[in-house]
């Protein structure tokens, strides 16, 4: 599903150049569930952003589902994110003035799905998350766990092939964290590739494979 080859990435800030990724090689099969671990500043988030076509890379190769991802126009990148990828963030990143249902339906809006239809689909996904009663609540009326479930529903509604989760449990207590991980495992069970960036060990333990990044290099691959 994902194949990266000698990916390098540097950030240039003024005079200084910060070499964040120093030649990453990684292959992720379709349907895998892996975690990426590393200290802050190790480059794990940068790697996730490159995988999510939110950021570019300097050299190397990246192919997603057989498609070469290299210097895409913003338009094409947006299309690919919309069709192929689903994002889950630590701070949920729900749109504050839209209710749960509208938030979930948002990716379908960018697929030009008519409003009624996409709201109906959003309701199905919310039902799967057990949030039917909360569909018309604004994000600030939901608990952390509920917000993250809304975010997961939103990531899933576009029928993506890969879910990219950046510290999905970072803002949650351990019970809720475990619930969220249950959901992500269920998602993975339907055949969707799940990639989780985390620094929590017990979260990483619940994935099948953990990739440890240190100073921009993959230092360890653990099969859990």
């Amino acid at each position: 599903m994902i194949k990266i080859n000698q990916i390098h990435k540097s950030y240039i800030t003024g005079q200084n150049s910060l070499h964040v990724l120093k030649g990453i090689d990684l292959e992720i099969e379709a349907g895998e569930m892996i975690s990426i671990m590393g200290a802050s500043g190790s480059g794990k988030s940068t790697l996730l952003n490159i995988l999510g076509i939110l950021d570019s890379y300097d050299s190397g190769e990246y192919s997603l589902d057989g498609l070469k991802i290299n210097r895409l126009s913003e338009r094409k990148a947006a299309r690919l994110r919309n069709k192929m990828l689903g994002f889950v963030f630590q701070s949920f990143n729900l749109v504050s003035f839209k209710n749960a249902m509208e938030n979930v339906a948002l990716p379908l809006y960018y697929q030009d799905v008519p409003r009624k239809k996409r709201n109906l689909i959003a309701m199905e996904y919310l039902e799967r998350m057990g949030l039917t009663e909360w569909a018309h609540h604004l994000p600030n009326e939901l608990s952390g766990g509920q917000k993250q479930r809304v975010a997961i529903a939103r990531a899933l509604i576009g029928k993506p092939k890969v879910i990219l989760a950046d510290e999905p449990t970072g803002a949650l207590d351990s019970v809720t964290s475990s619930e969220v991980m249950d959901i992500l495992q269920e998602v993975n069970a339907t055949g969707i590739t799940v990639i989780i960036v985390t620094h929590e060990h017990d979260i990483a333990m619940r994935t099948r494979k953990t990739i440890r990044i240190t100073d921009g290099n993959i230092t360890e691959i653990i099969i859990n």
């Binding site: 952003n49 999510g52 939110l54 950021d55 913003e74 338009r75 947006a78 299309r79 994110r81 919309n82 069709k83 994002f87 963030f89 630590q90 701070s91 990143n93 729900l94 749109v95 504050s96 003035f97 509208e102 948002l106 990716p107 809006y109 960018y110 697929q111 409003r115 939103r154 576009g158």
Partner: protein
Amino acid sequence: MFEIDKWQEIYSTVRKNKLRTFLTGFSVAWGIFMLILLLGSGSGLENGVKEQFKGGATNGVWISSGQTSLKFKGLKTGRQIKFTNEDYKSIKTTVEGYDHISARLFLGNKLISYKNEYGSFFLSPCHPDYGFIKEVDMIQGRFLNTMDINEFRKVAIIGEKVKATLFKGVDTIAMGNYIKINGVLFQVVGVFRDYSRNDDEQKRVYIPISTAQRVFQGENVINQISYTTGNATEQEADLMIKKSKAILAKMHTFDVEDNRAINVWNKNEEVRKFKALFAGIRLFIWIIGIGTIIAGIVGVSNIMMIVVKERTKEIGIRKSLGATPWSIVALIMQEAIVITAFAGYIGLVLGVGLLEIVSKNMPPSDFFLNPSADFSVAVSATILLIIAGAIAGFFPAMKAARVNPVEALRDE
């Protein structure tokens, strides 16, 4: 593009920032309001002046006799020039290009009566063509004709107001009845209405000039010669006037350059002057109005910049979910256009409303009439508003489209 979601989004951002949106909208509304008021006042002034020009063909030329002011061929100044039928005839035969020509005699107000009713009205003896030159609107009967002139008929065409004074009562028919002008009986053959708002123009009585000369004067003197210049261009019309002057100067031995020996009133020239003046005023008004609106646009643009900054995170989320740059541009532009268009429309309505109130309650004035912004002005203002909104939204929208999702979504 105009989907209900976007309306909802605009509504929710507007609701969250009521004061900010109000102040922004206010500057735009004020700009449009002022533009409409200015344009309305301009049109009021124009209508007022146009009204002054009513009642007479716009290509009319009136030549009246005066007093010489320059010495010429040993003749003193201050000589009274007296036109006669000969002058009328020689202009009629020599000058080319006119389509209607008439001589006029000024006899002033005369006592006119019918049975026991009487009044003092302005008697205006003239040729049949004067009906065209003055654009007399007949509401009953006919105007003068050649037979009236040739046969010295005692017929009269009276104004509406004259009829109202002399023929009181609803069922009294003026037509065919005989009125007494200075003791001489004239048959009423027509009733006219004059478009001019001037009351005196309505209180006129037209009679054949030949009859008037014979009955009231006993000589062949006339006071004025007037004609319309037909389809002549400005230059051709000026040439016709010059030729008429030369003829009259030769017949009465005065300097052609003497502007007081005869007075020429060229209505077309006056109309032209006023048209140029009002074109200038309108341009000036648009410049000021657009200037005011630009101030409003800058305001909206500024606010939208802040909006984009505040919504950076949301834009980042949208981009991560698959929003194309264009869809982000559309989002911001639409909001800017909606705010400007809505606020501007309120300004438009208020401006037009105020003009309506003013024009309904204003005491009649000679130089100000019906201040109103017509449909084309409203359409132009609307187009202007949408363009203004688009300009106001463009730069913030471009900024929004350039938002980097990685930076926008960074947790801080």
